[in-house]
């Protein structure tokens, strides 16, 4: 009798799971049986559900919609959740796509080196690999669609900061301490931008700004929202007038910049907004209310057109698959953006950064 119950239990277990699997399969599966000549482009952002990446996604969707007028192009889009934006998750997704036999992969890389073996494997299988936003090792991809040159980003941020600082009375006679919120130390872009910022700080134009102690004044909260909020709050509390305080802070991430502004709003004893400056990279939508708020020291935001970035990356992937461009090409032509230059090392450059303020923040919708 007892044995019977157990056997029954084991079968029950198997049965229930079977049903679960079946329903799971039938509901979750998209139709993968594409016809001949169909092109599948898979887009993998660093994380899903964050407005910067969502804006890039829109661009990719635009590109596919445009292409679908003449061809059959399918867009696969998936990415790690925001709190698990790790290399492992990206690899899991890539392996699945490689097995499915997609034609091109467009990826915003989380970890420059760790992703390389998987991307190389994809390339060996004849899949075209395009990175966007942040790059992997050059030999692991075909092209890197770069939003703008490193110099342009660093200069854009420093210009935005310097302009506001000067308005608030800083300059050659009055030094300003600088703090930066980045994401992680393995983030290749951030390291490059930081290095460039440090280089630029040595030039006369920006010499009144300093990073006093890189260990404590450059923050690396990662991609976790609450971590980001709490570290930004710490940073705001260190801001104000005086040698040992920080007068200017900017963020390299689209999460950090609004977090700086909201931490300022939430601060109990606000540092004088006329004495400090906040700015950084973020989408105009995310900063809109802060920029318009006169009491908030965040007056300017810096970014590139991320919808165009997603568009250009997807188009590059498509043209690679079609053979319209090859590794030797020096430019790429698209309907929306005209001709874009392909620089040395397979870098497609989107354009310059965009500095927006209360005058024009309403003109952008992403």
């Amino acid at each position: 009798m007892k044995k019977f119950t157990r056997k029954f239990g084991a079968q029950l277990l198997a049965g229930i799971m079977l049903v679960g699997m079946l329903t799971g399969c039938s509901s979750g599966v998209k139709d993968n049986s594409g016809g001949e000549g169909e092109i599948k482009i898979a887009v993998l952002p660093k994380m899903k559900g964050e407005n910067y990446w969502d804006a890039c996604k829109e661009g990719a969707e635009d590109a596919v919609a445009e292409l679908n007028e003449g061809e059959k192009v399918t867009l696969l889009y998936d990415g790690p959740p925001q709190d698990q934006s790790t290399n492992q998750k990206q690899v899991d997704l890539l392996e699945g796509w490689i097995a499915q036999g997609v034609d091109a992969i467009v990826i915003g890389v989380v970890d420059t080196t760790a992703i390389a073996p998987t991307l190389k494997k994809a390339k060996d299988k004849g899949i075209k690999v395009v990175t966007y936003d942040s790059d992997t090792m050059p030999d692991a991809r075909d092209f890197f669609v770069n939003q703008c040159s490193v110099n342009s980003v660093a200069k854009g941020l420093l210009d935005a900061a310097a302009e506001d600082l000067k308005e608030k009375g800083y300059g050659d006679g009055k030094q300003a301490n600088l703090a930066i919120v980045a994401a992680t130390k393995t983030e290749k872009n951030h390291q490059a931008w930081l290095a460039e910022v440090k280089e630029l700080l040595k030039t006369d134009k920006y010499s009144f700004m300093h990073i006093k102690n890189e260990d404590t004044d450059v923050y690396y909260p990662g991609s976790d929202e609450t971590q980001c909020q709490s570290q930004c709050a710490t940073l705001i509390s260190r801001m104000g007038e005086g040698e040992d305080k920080i007068q200017c802070a900017f963020s390299f991430t689209s999460m950090g910049t609004p977090a700086l502004a909201s931490s300022y709003d939430a601060a109990a004893n606000k540092p004088d907004a006329g004495k400090i400056v906040l700015t950084g990279l973020a989408t105009p939508n995310a900063l809109n209310s802060y920029i318009k708020d006169e009491k908030n020291p965040l007056n300017k935001g810096v970014l590139w057109n991320c919808s165009d970035l997603g568009y250009l990356a997807t188009m590059t992937a498509y043209q690679l698959v079609k053979g319209d461009i090859t590794g030797d090409s020096t430019e790429i032509t698209t309907n929306r953006l005209g001709t874009s230059v392909i620089a040395e090392g397979g870098e497609v450059i989107l354009g310059d950064v965009l500095i927006f303020s209360s005058d024009d923040v309403d003109n952008y919708n992403y």
Binding site: T5, L13, M21, C25, N32, N87, Q100, D111, A114, K185
Partner: protein
């Protein structure tokens, strides 16, 4: 004992059944899944580190303990090993990897067995500690693979990744340890009633410490293949890994309360999770839906185990105390 065996065989048969069914369901949806190369190089490879860690975790859970720090233990071992290898070559790297793994395991084991701090608390703290040390020492940057790990992570022997062979060897060893050896019987005895085991003359402290050190050793193996497979490693690589490992062990039929468990079940469950993980991705199911499927599978299997347990064991067994000495009450 005989009934016990019968029960386990039935469970394992059910697990194998699930494995086969899910396998063919996925293959049916997307034939690409069936390609030998995919099964070998992706399905197996992706779960191998979880597999390594799950083997000793089964022993730990059977003793009534748990190890939340295993993922970060792997990260720390890998990190320090990589740093050492960069300075003194591959051999030093491997030595340091295993030394660190063993040291971490020993630290857990001693605090749990000797000082009698509950396993969950100890490993919760060491989870942060190992992660933090790895993060602090590496200053947040990646460490890179070295020749030996390149080999362990990527080499193929007769077309099958070398880590699969290593896993099979260890799987056999661990099945023998838990199911056939004296040590295995001691482990079950500790899990069912640590006090009784101690009074019958077993050095339970040493036995428990050994279990945690074994976890450290396997974390060493996981560390080597992980860094080889990805060519580099960052401090956050172990995020949530412990939860996956525990999921596998529990799915395999080991009771989280200790005293009951089966190494073969763990091995089959590792394969199920591997198939589900890679299979659902191949089918184009969004990452989030996969999480739901995994959670549901876990919940259903737990429910069924619990139902069977309620049926099977009318005899109440004493509530197991993780911290043996402190609250061990005489059994009337």
């Amino acid at each position: 004992m005989r009934v016990e065996n019968k029960l386990r065989i039935d469970f394992n048969a059910a697990l194998v059944f699930i494995l086969i069914i899910s396998f063919f369901l996925i293959a049916n949806q997307n034939p690409a899944f069936l390609s030998g190369e995919y099964i070998i190089s992706v399905v197996l490879k992706n779960a191998i580190e979880i597999g390594f860690l799950a083997l000793p975790m089964t022993i730990i859970i059977v003793t009534g303990g748990i190890d939340l720090s295993c993922g970060n233990m792997m990260v720390l071992a890998s990190m320090l090993g990589g740093i050492a290898a960069a300075k003194g070559g591959s051999l030093l790297g491997i030595a340091v990897t295993f030394l660190v793994g063993c040291a971490c395991g020993l630290l857990n084991g001693v605090i749990i067995a000797k000082i009698k701090v509950p396993a969950m608390v100890t490993t919760l703290a060491t989870m942060y500690l190992f992660l933090g040390i790895a993060r602090g020492i590496s200053k947040g940057v990646s460490i890179y693979s070295y020749p030996v790990t390149d080999f362990l992570g990527n080499a193929l022997v007769f077309g099958i990744p070398i880590q699969v062979y290593i896993y099979i060897i260890w799987a056999v060893i661990f099945v023998t340890i838990l199911q056939k050896s004296v040590y295995g019987r001691i482990i079950f005895a500790i899990g069912r009633n640590e006090g009784a085991a101690r009074y019958s003359g077993v050095n339970t402290e040493i036995a428990v410490i050994k279990a945690y050190v074994l976890e450290g050793v396997m974390a060493g193996f996981a560390a080597l293949t992980w860094i080889g497979r990805f060519t580099s490693l960052k401090y956050d690589a172990g995020t949530n890994l412990h939860m996956k490992v525990i999921t596998v062990v529990v799915l395999g039929g080991t009771s989280i309360l200790g005293g009951y468990g089966d190494m073969k079940g763990t091995i089959i469950a590792t394969l199920i999770i591997a198939v589900l993980n890679s299979g659902l991705t191949v089918m184009g199911m969004p990452v989030d839906a996969q999480t739901i499927v995994q959670g549901t599978v876990l919940l259903i299997s737990l429910t069924v185990y619990a139902l069977i347990n309620m049926q099977g064991k009318r005899k109440k067994r004493p509530k197991l105390q993780e911290s043996g000495g402190e609250k061990m009450q005489p059994l009337h």
